[in-house]
């Protein structure tokens, strides 16, 4: 029980469950699920489907934050990905085929990777501070997305494309399945190989890790590419959910949600130890918060105050846990039992 209380993940999980319980109190059938058109239907499914892009972006953000960086450009990359894919589909010769959808998605992902390489180049090679380097793309990137769509919303009607964000497979939303796959990939790549340890080392003490022979430049470059990749895929989800690309508004402020999710999940913005599971829980807390606002019928004027109070409560809950966790990097060694001295 004590180790459960000291676990960093416990309090965010408690907060998430408390929010879900609050919803249940206000609406008796909140947790109810039923089948609709061959897939599960219910508020929980909505949380999974609508939260998938945020979770995905937050995963990428976790690794960036772990290297003591930050990526503010994810919102712009979301917009660019959606803009490129929908513009391609709209201007292609066969706008509703699977091949068109596949090519569009592939182009968007490649664009995301290129932008990640750019961010990584600025931060790791030139040494610009991450917040400013990604601020440049955040500003210019949205302009690029608007340039691609001409400032208008580009609607498409391609069922294959739509399935990325709004489709279902095995009764669950495809978007959450994609996110789960990326999560497993990231977890395996970072925890089963040395990559995770290297990322943490670079974040905790860049100088020491350089002296230890770690190629910090490559590590930092990789995490920014990964973050951009996550943002591009999330961009595909967001635009395919409404089968339209809205370069003006897609992904607006999603970077704040992602960073908030990362911090709620227990990763420190000062870099170092990170927790992918914590981030996932944090992202779902944010999504559930939005759902709670709708369930409780909180008027739009008061929504932000409500969100502020919940965020603060979650952090305060975490605080003693955070303080304890900081003091104990590993449990105290077990002292040998006192030997009875025979008198």
């Amino acid at each position: 029980m004590k180790s459960l209380l000291k676990n960093r993940l416990t309090w965010p999980l408690v907060a998430l469950l408390a929010l879900l319980a609050l919803n249940q109190v206000f609406r008796a059938d909140f947790l109810a699920l039923r089948m609709q058109d061959g897939h599960l239907y219910g508020s929980l499914i909505d949380i999974l489907r609508n939260g998938a892009p945020t979770v995905l972006i937050a995963l990428g953000m976790t690794l960036v934050v772990a290297t003591r960086g930050i990526d503010l450009s994810v919102g712009a990359i979301v917009a660019i990905a959606g803009a490129i894919s929908c513009s391609y589909i709209a201007s292609s010769s066969d706008p509703s085929s699977l091949a068109t959808a596949g090519t569009a998605a592939a182009i968007a992902v490649v664009a995301g990777l290129a932008l990640g390489v750019w961010n990584g180049f600025l931060v790791s090679v030139i040494g610009v501070q991450p917040i400013i380097a990604t601020l440049v793309l955040m500003t210019a990137g949205r302009g690029v997305a608007q340039l691609v769509t001409g400032g208008q919303i580009v609607s498409v009607s391609n069922d294959h494309y739509k399935s990325i964000g709004a489709g279902y497979a095995f009764t669950l939303p495809i978007s959450i399945l994609i996110t789960a796959a990326v999560f497993v990939l990231a977890a395996v790549l970072t925890r089963r190989t040395a990559l995770g340890t290297l990322i943490e080392a670079v974040g905790i003490n860049p100088v020491a890790s350089r002296l230890a022979g770690i190629r910090a430049r490559n590590i930092i470059w990789i995490v920014y590419v990964f973050s951009a990749l996550c943002a591009a895929i999330a961009g595909l989800m967001i635009s395919s959910n409404v089968t339209a690309a809205d370069a003006n508004n897609a992904g607006l402020y999603i970077e704040m949600d992602a960073i908030l999710a990362v911090v709620i999940g227990g990763t420190s913005l000062a870099g170092g130890r990170y927790s992918l599971v914590g981030t996932v829980i944090g992202a779902f807390i944010i999504q559930t918060l939005t759902t709670t606002v709708y369930t409780l019928g909180i008027p739009p004027e008061v929504t932000l105050v409500f969100k502020a109070l919940v965020v603060l409560s979650v952090c305060l809950l975490q605080a003693p846990a955070a303080r304890n966790a900081l003091r104990r990097f590993r449990p105290a060694p077990k002292l040998p039992a006192k030997e009875k001295v025979a008198i």
Binding site: L72, I126, G127, V128, Q129, I131, I132, A133, L135, V136, L137, M138, T139, A140, G141, R142, G143, V144, A145, Q146, L147, G151, M256, I259, L260, V263, I264, S268, L269, A270, P300, E301, V302, T303, L304, V305, F306, K307, A308, L309, V311, L312, C315, L316, Q318, A319, A322, R323, L326
Partner: protein, 338 residues
């Protein structure tokens, strides 16, 4: 960092705190680079557009950015200690709303202005206390503060409220004539005063010294016996006060209270501080550099207004591009210092 630099008496400006680990003028390199680049941009603008080369254009940069200047000053304090304050934009909007709604209800400006400053300072102190005593990261606490302040704006009023009070109107429309045709607004004088006070605090008081020490290495500062806890709370209080003053200046500037105002201003303030040569990890930077950073952001906007042909998205791309050029050149000129 030279261990002797923080022990020298504060009157010696040459060994004053700041870039402690560097000698002589190299400390000022990033800030000087920023200043040089700003002048270069002004020259380029003058070459491209005939009406650019006027003193009023330069003074307009000050007039139109008084609130951002004060915000950047407050943000400098926070960033120097290695923290960050995301709530400043929302507190500006909250100050404006409180101001406008109280003035509309008939309160006297001499009561409204101190109250607004008190609210800003109070909110900042509260955030500082939570950050210090609960050990929660500044990003989250100030983000929650931002939600709270913005939410309170909506609660006060969804519609915008005009300010018709004669004192505010006179502050908004007064023109203080300088030589020839040039003029500035009273807001500029207030902003300059704030910058001067901040400069004095950072470089000639123990509090300022502690701020720099905190950013350099919090642990060392604590071991040296500096008042780490109090200072950490105080910088957020300072930032809150500056946000409130900036809100008042914005009220003078726009004579209205609008709940959606100042969205994203916190990022502008952070950008100005970083452009001015301050490191986000803390410990190095000058408040005058932040002022130059504000001017740089202002001149980018001026360029775009003078050009007159950029569509909305090309505007964003050009802003991002110019920012990038600036950062790269600054990095080029000061690469030896890192």
């Amino acid at each position: 960092m030279s261990p002797l630099s923080t022990l020298t008496p504060p009157l010696k400006k040459s060994s004053a705190i700041g870039y402690g680990r560097l000698r002589g003028g190299a400390r000022y390199a990033p800030t000087l680079a920023t200043l040089g680049l700003f002048l270069a941009m002004f020259a380029v603008g003058a070459g491209m557009y005939p009406s650019f080369l006027s003193g009023q254009v330069l003074l307009n940069l000050f007039i139109d950015n008084t609130f951002l200047t004060v915000l950047a000053v407050g943000m400098t304090f926070v960033i120097l200690t290695g923290g960050i304050d995301l709530s400043v934009g929302a507190v500006v909007a909250l100050s404006m709303m409180v101001c406008a709604s109280l003035l509309q209800a008939g309160w006297n400006p001499s009561m409204v202005i101190p109250l607004v400053i008190l609210i800003g300072g109070g909110l900042g102190t509260l955030m500082g206390l939570v950050i210090q005593y609960f050990d929660i990261q500044p990003f989250i606490v100030t983000l929650a503060g931002m939600f709270l302040a913005r939410g309170l704006c909506y609660v006060i009023s969804l519609d915008s409220i005009p300010v018709t009070d004669p004192f505010f109107t006179s502050m908004a429309q007064a023109r203080i004539p300088l030589a020839g045709d040039l003029f500035i607004s009273p807001g500029v004088l207030i902003a300059v005063a704030v910058v001067a006070v901040a400069f004095f605090i950072l470089h000639h008081t123990r509090f300022g010294r502690t701020v720099y020490a905190l950013g350099g290495n919090e642990h060392s500062a604590m071991l040296m016996g500096l008042n780490v806890k109090g200072t950490k709370v105080a910088v957020y209080a300072v930032s809150g006060l500056c946000s409130a003053v900036a809100g008042l200046l914005f009220s003078f500037y726009s004579l209205s209270g609008y709940s959606l105002a100042a969205q994203g201003m916190e990022l502008d303030a952070i950008a100005a501080v970083v452009i001015g040569g301050t490191l986000l990890t803390g410990g190095t930077g000058y408040v005058l550099g932040s002022v130059v950073g504000v001017l740089v952001l202002g001149i980018v906007q001026t360029f775009i207004a003078y050009d007159g042909t950029l569509s909305s998205w090309w505007t964003k791309i050009v802003i991002g591009g110019l920012l990038l050029v600036f950062i790269l050149l600054q990095r080029l000129f000061s690469r030896k210092t890192y």
